[in-house]
Amino acid sequence: MLFSADRLTKRYGETTVVDDVSFQIAPGECLGVIGPNGAGKTTTIRMCLGLSTPDRGRISYFTKPGSAASVLSMPQDALTIKAQLGVVSQMDTLDPDFSCAENLLVYGRYFGMKDAQIRARIPELLEFASLTHKARAKPGELSGGMKRRLSLARALVNDPRLLLLDEPTTGLDPQARHLMWERLQLLLQQGKSILLTTHFMDEAERLCSRLLVLDHGKKIAEGTPRDLIAQHLEPDVVEVYGVGAVALMDSPVKQLASRVELSGETVFFYTQDARAVLDALASQPQLRTLHRPANLEDLFLKLTGRQIREDG
């Protein structure tokens, strides 16, 4: 075990934003935290960083995984723990007045590193972020993807064992997102651990060995992406849309699926046997159908509902 959060609870006035949430992170593991806006993801990360003090619960960091003698806890040992963490927050906090290289240098100093030691690391960090050619550019001259990669490189300056990433790819285009994923996978291969929050189910599926689903501050599910899907969902989904799709909600076809949902103009059939549903729909050629395996997005919507959240 590298990191554990035990029964975390955080209240703001009357609202409980994090409610009795526990999780653990093993060395080399990527734990994904998913949940709608306002589910408590960012507050959880802030508590893990000691920036917010939980009303109840314990956060422990194990300097020697597995040995009980080496436990540090937040927030008492915040500085010692943070010396071994790397953080990429939701909003970039890069220094706009510094070049990429200077950003890394100045940040390394906050960890008490010597200038020579940091300067020796800068080329490989820039290389890792694919920013070698931008070493002298300031953040204002970088694209969104480059800025996020610089933030990631900055979080790596102290060679951390655990990375805390709060929505690291929000707002990036597909190319930039894929490059980010590739880099994060590389870090996992190197044995680093990652705690990641995300809104993107493909990101969670691709990177995370284990997922934690939060809603209204509570943990509502936990497991590997495959297990969660198998546990909560039927294997197949048939999406139907087009003229007359909505009317299917009152037709006998509904009996062929174990669960049917209507979202907007599209009907979702969740079923063990997609063939039967597709055959029954064949008589209505004006309908358009999409047959696919159930995925994390289906799971997420099943667990947290389809309605839009206030701040969504």
Binding site: L49, L51, P75, A78, L79, T93, D95, F98, G112
Partner: protein, 284 residues
């Protein structure tokens, strides 16, 4: 200890940790934060220097020589040992305190607020092993340093203009650093409370500007009614002027410990309040 006792002890220490009024926890980790500000400033030092000293010098030259010609000499000091000095010397020794105050206040308000709120630089730093307390300390010392830099440049010009050649200016210099520290600490209280830049206009117009007129910078305090003079004697800027002006005249201040004490008290209390309010702002 039993489990309940352990829990109770833990809850008690958690309560202390969450109390924003707990004593400052300061360490040398403030230094990289100070260095960060220095590195940014180095890139912009020359243009910012021109802006920082041009205005106070224009005031000094226009007022000092213009008004000075009308006013002639000003009497300084109490009945026992009053001295007549040229108005330009009177004004210069007061206005350098004002410059120290303004430079420190400006940096600890507008610039610190940009780093704290707009650029989120502080949030980035707190993800590294640096405490908020050390960041506030770094900002305070940084604003004082910048104020000292402005003061030094103005002192150099005053020497060139031959306003004062008092050897005691060497003592005035560290005293002016102390003035910068005091006003940085006070300004950081308002930084911690600010929702936006507009808030600082109130601080300048309702707090600093009236103080400038009540601290004996432009005219001797003897001109003021007794009640106002009593209030004035407790203002930080008055105490700064009372320390610095005699040094410009190659004399020692009459009550140095009293004035230093007032400035130090303002600095310590303000820093603590500023820190508590900043902790409250960042607590979540």
């Amino acid at each position: 200890m039993t489990a309940t006792n352990l829990d109770r002890a833990e809850n008690a220490s958690a309560a202390i940790r969450q109390n924003v009024w707990r004593p400052p926890e300061l360490s040398l980790r403030f230094w990289p934060v100070f260095l960060r500000n220095l590195l940014v400033w180095r890139k912009l030092a020359i243009p910012s220097l021109v802006g920082n000293i041009a205005e106070p010098l224009m005031w000094l030259v226009a007022f000092g020589y213009g008004m000075g010609a009308l006013v002639g000499q000003v009497t300084v000091g109490s009945a026992g040992q009053s001295v007549k000095v040229p108005y330009i010397l009177f004004l210069a020794s007061g206005s350098i305190c004002m410059s120290a105050m303004q430079a420190a206040s400006f940096e600890a308000l507008y610039s610190a607020f940009s780093r704290m709120h707009v650029q989120k630089t502080w949030d980035g730093i707190m993800n590294a092993p640096v405490r908020l307390d050390d960041i506030v300390l770094a900002e305070m010392l940084w604003a004082a340093f910048k104020s000292l830099f402005t003061v030094t440049a103005i002192l150099a010009v005053m020497l060139v203009l031959g306003i004062s050649y008092s050897p005691k200016l060497l003592v005035a210099w560290p005293v002016l650093l102390g003035v910068g520290v005091t006003f940085s600490c006070i300004a950081l209280i308002f930084n911690a409370l600010a929702k936006g830049y507009d808030f600082f206009t109130y601080y300048f117009t309702l707090f600093l500007t009236p103080m400038m007129f009540l601290s004996g910078i432009f005219f001797p305090l003897e001109q003021l009614p007794a009640v106002v003079r009593t209030i004035s004697s407790w203002l930080p800027l008055t105490n700064a002027v009372e320390l610095v002006r005699p040094l410009f005249m190659d004399q020692w201040p009459e009550h140095p410990w009293r004035h230093l004490g007032v400035l130090a008290a303002f600095a310590v209390v303000s820093f603590w309040v500023a820190l508590a309010l900043t902790r409250k702002r960042f607590r979540g």
